[in-house]
């Protein structure tokens, strides 16, 4: 029955995707003749191999950076008594709160030719040492660092649910903290790490903004920008190649998930939430904790601090000319004034909050159920997993067009309503919810559910009263993560909103197209502040109702 719901939601855009890749699109948007030429163009284009190589390096590089930094942060935060570790959450939220494109732009401002870093290098070491951010390392770094909040949140929720008695045992047997982390903690967190690998790797293959903003200017093509360049020039909607690429990625995802499922068949290794009671304990580091504190601070600066400072700086400028002594004398609040003035910004805030909250609230419990069924090998569970993860490979704009066609043709007046945007948004973020939930479920030992059922509880009851509460840590992280992303989404809601259902991200996209980087920076800062406020409220709510397990 769940499968039915999923199919209704996800099948239409998937079918659209497949159709778009095998039929030509006529001038009026309808489908023409069957053709395999998009696949052909994809694989035989002049730049295919170089783009493929670039994409692989980019994907692996950014995944490694993200997972490494995120895991280290998570271990330090969840397992040690490092002072100041709570701030890492704030850092993650701020990072996620900054619209991704703006986050990338902030990095380009820092590392660009006229940015402060090059300014320092120039004056210290001369013109030879100037770095060029429009390069492979620039792309990989920015994408990797942008994903750290995701990896951190997921790993921290995994670690929070992990019984620390294993680590205690190790340390009591004489292992030093680092060895303990390496052999015990990391192994325990393996389901989480694998989930992340899947997510981040596939996301990097599908990623477009960073390669377009950073790579293109350095003439580095990945597959997505390659497709973009060869199919968008005329301005007509030709998603054929895009669709073909996504279909290929879809097949890869199916394969990867199958492999992931096989591996997690040995999941009992990771089950640490057992009937014996668990208490994630914090390990006292002694003097080492100042080192870890410094590490956290450094990471905070890297992931969140630097871009944020850059945005604040830029938002106070009438125009951006690099960080020069004069620019400090030019500080002005004009950009904020323009933003706060009368206009659709304020009107669309409530729509936006509803969108984000509804998406999260639907996706998180729903994927928890699906993940549970998949992880417990219930009939049809693997299918649920596949279907719920499929949206990961679809470019947002293709999904948007797909949903546009679905809704505009429905006999019920769903077209142009906020509900339609919520539905599309839920589909888009389902894969994230799925991976969070799946990693969380793997840690729960079956014996708890078995005990429940042998005491007479039915499956549904078991799920609601045993599994869900134990999943709370991952669900809370997942909720916040999805909320922050859903409210930022632009390409997806773009075609689905109509007069009266404006949301902030789309309204601000207007600014993005026509505004100067200084106005955008002020918009980013305002937006982030709003997101921090919302997150703080959310945090208080979960505390109040003790939704978190510990």
């Amino acid at each position: 029955m769940l499968i039915l719901v999923l199919l209704i939601l996800i099948l239409p855009p998937t079918l659209f995707l497949i159709k778009v890749s095998i039929f030509t699109t006529k001038a009026d948007g309808s489908f023409g003749d069957f053709t395999l030429r998009y696949y052909q163009q994809l694989f035989t284009g002049r730049f295919f191999f170089s783009a493929l190589t670039n994409t692989a390096i980019y994907a692996i590089g950014s995944a490694v950076i993200a997972i490494l930094l995120g895991t280290i942060q998570a271990i330090i935060v969840e397992r040690t008594d490092t002072p100041g570790r709570g701030w890492v959450f704030l850092g993650a939220i701020i990072s996620l709160g900054i619209p991704h494109v703006l986050y990338t732009v902030a990095w380009l401002l820092i590392l660009g030719r006229s940015g402060p870093l090059n300014g320092l290098l120039l004056s210290a070491f001369g013109p030879q040492s100037v770095i060029n951010v429009y390069s492979m390392w620039g792309m990989t770094l920015i994408e990797g660092v942008g994903f750290v909040p995701l990896t951190f949140l997921l790993m921290s929720s995994v670690l929070r649910s992990t019984d620390a008695s294993f680590e205690e045992a190790a340390m009591m047997s004489g292992a030093r903290p680092i060895k303990t982390f390496w052999t015990i903690t990391l192994r325990m967190g393996l389901p989480g790490i694998m989930a992340l690998l899947l997510l981040v790797f596939i996301r990097a293959f599908e990623s477009f903004e960073v390669p377009a903003l950073v790579g293109l200017a350095g003439n580095i093509n990945v597959l997505t920008t390659n497709i973009y360049q060869s199919s968008k020039g005329t301005g007509a909607m030709d998603y054929g190649q895009s669709g073909a690429y996504s279909v290929c990625l879809l097949l890869i995802v199916v394969g990867l998930l199958y492999w992931y499922n096989r591996l997690s068949g040995h999941a009992h290794q990771y089950q640490t939430i057992t009937g014996k009671g668990y208490r994630p304990r914090v390990i006292k580091l002694g003097r080492l904790r100042y080192v870890t504190s410094a590490i956290l601070a450094l990471m905070f600066m890297l992931v969140t601090g630097l871009p944020l400072i850059m945005l604040v700086f830029t938002s106070l400028q009438p125009f951006y000319e690099g960080v020069t002594p004069e620019s400090f004398s030019r500080f002005t609040l004009d950009n904020y004034r323009i933003l706060m003035g009368p206009g659709s910004f304020r009107d669309s805030i409530s729509n936006t909050l509803i969108l984000g909250a509804s998406t999260s609230t639907f996706v998180v419990p729903f994927t928890a159920l699906c993940a549970w069924m998949a992880a417990r090998r219930k009939p049809g569970g693997w299918l649920l997993d596949q279907i719920a993860t499929a949206p990961l490979v679809m470019p947002a704009i293709v999904m948007s067009v797909a949903f546009l066609y679905v809704f505009v043709n429905l006999p019920i007046p769903l077209y142009g309503t906020l509900l339609s945007v919520i539905l599309a948004s839920s589909v888009r973020f389902m894969p994230y919810g799925m991976r969070y939930a799946y990693a969380g479920v793997l840690q729960i030992h079956k014996e708890l559910e078995e005990a429940s059922m042998s005491s007479g509880a039915k499956q549904g009851n078991t799920f609601l009263r045993i599994v869900l509460p134990l999943l709370s840590a991952s669900m809370v992280s997942s909720w916040l993560f999805i909320f922050l992303l859903a409210v930022q989404a632009v390409s997806l809601p773009l075609l689905l909103v109509g007069p009266g259902t404006e949301i902030v991200a789309v309204t601000l996209f207007d600014l993005w197209q026509n505004g100067q980087v200084t106005e955008l920076a002020s918009m980013g800062i305002t937006w982030v502040s709003l997101m921090v406020v919302v997150s703080a409220c959310f945090h208080m709510v979960t505390r109040r109702y003790q939704i978190m397990a510990s």
Partner: protein, 367 residues
């Protein structure tokens, strides 16, 4: 039939004819005109018919690419003030997205839009066969060269394209003033342009092909390709100008000529250089087939092209298409006619004709 009945038939036939004649002479209340007739009506009582019809319709929806805060909202507010019985709703998006939405709506028979405006959207939907001709008397105020002979679109605003340069990186003596100046080897690797947009690389190429003819243009492009132009792939023309200001690229091609002027007014080290012929395009307005509120739609079209509507656009730093509306002081300096440069108006037909092949030239020479 006997003689009597034939006679009565003739009489009734005559009576009928008389009645019809009499009815025709009576002033008829809004004789139901078809949508096509309403849209193209040129009679002296046009205003009245539109007002009455609009009262019954009560609403109008505009899909538009204008900036919301400065232009779209003021126009909407002013229109609502003038016609309080018409509820106006608008949706702002880029031209490609407007086209996508419109196509989906028309095909699903679920049309929401009554009027569509943007740069480039007109061309796309005309090609798709989704719009119909209409007439607004305001078009008489627009210079002939900007009009559509087929009467399917009307121009709403003009855009001029120029070269932007950073005044700190490009000394005044070195500023390239013609397209040929761009071939100077010292600019190798220092020029950028915007790809992936109809108003970026393809417009630049189309402009020169139209002005110089294929052969001369082709020779020029081959030399230009040797300059290794940087392909700026993400962001609008405005973003590219920001990059020039920041010193990332000394020169940028085919950007909106007025953007550097606006920044210059704030003290930014940037300037706009018009090169002959100056590529010029127009935003266009079209009416979709199956429009649900034709009367209100026409009133809105009239309004956007009226002096009041065009003045709002001018204040929002757009270039009005009516010569009797004052151009915004900040950006006057980019209007080719005022600066003694020839403009090359690239209209819908030319865009449809040249864009695909211009795009190919880009793919072959400049990637």
């Amino acid at each position: 039939m006997d003689r009597n009945s034939m006679r009565s038939e003739k009489l009734s036939g005559l009576g009928l004819a008389l009645m019809m004649g009499a009815t025709m002479m009576l002033p008829l209340p809004a004789l139901s005109l078809t949508t096509e007739e309403i849209l193209n009506y040129r009679g002296p009582d046009r205003e009245q018919i539109l007002l009455e019809g609009a009262k019954k319709e009560g609403q109008v929806t505009l899909y538009c690419a204008l900036i919301v805060n400065q232009a779209l909202k003021p126009i909407s507010d002013a229109f609502a003030k003038k016609y309080p019985f018409i509820k106006i709703a608008y949706w702002r998006a880029d031209s490609e997205d407007i086209a996508a939405k419109l196509m989906a709506e028309v095909k699903a028979n679920n049309l929401q839009a009554d009027l569509v405006e943007g740069t480039g959207v007109g061309e796309m939907v005309i090609q798709a066969g989704l719009v119909q001709p209409y007439y607004t008397p305001m078009i008489e105020q627009v210079p002939q060269k900007y009009r559509d002979p087929a009467g399917i679109w009307t121009p709403t605003r003009l855009s001029y394209f120029s070269v932007a340069y950073n005044t700190k990186l490009v000394p005044p003596d070195d500023v390239p003033k013609t397209y040929e100046d761009l071939l100077d080897p010292k600019w190798k690797g220092k020029i950028s342009w915007r790809i992936g947009s109809a108003s970026g690389t393809s417009l630049f190429i189309t402009n020169l092909r139209m002005a110089w003819g294929e052969e001369k243009a082709r020779a020029y492009f081959e030399k230009l390709a040797a300059q290794k132009i940087v392909n700026f792939g993400s962001g609008s023309a405005r973003t590219l100008v920001d990059r020039v200001i920041a010193g990332e690229y000394p020169i940028a091609l085919n950007i909106f000529a007025h953007h550097p002027f606006i920044s210059k007014a704030k003290g930014a080290p940037v300037n706009s250089q018009l090169m002959e012929p100056v590529a010029t395009t127009a935003g266009t307005m079209v009416v979709p087939k199956g429009v649900k509120h034709p009367h209100a739609s026409m009133l809105l079209a009239d309004f956007i092209l009226s002096k009041e509507g065009q003045t709002i656009l001018s204040k929002a730093e757009y270039f009005p298409v009516r010569p009797d509306v004052e151009i915004n002081e900040t950006i006057k300096g980019v209007v080719p006619n005022l600066m003694g440069k020839t403009e090359n108006f690239v209209g819908s037909e030319q865009l449809n004709k040249y864009t695909a092949s211009s795009e190919e030239i880009y793919q072959n020479l400049f990637r």
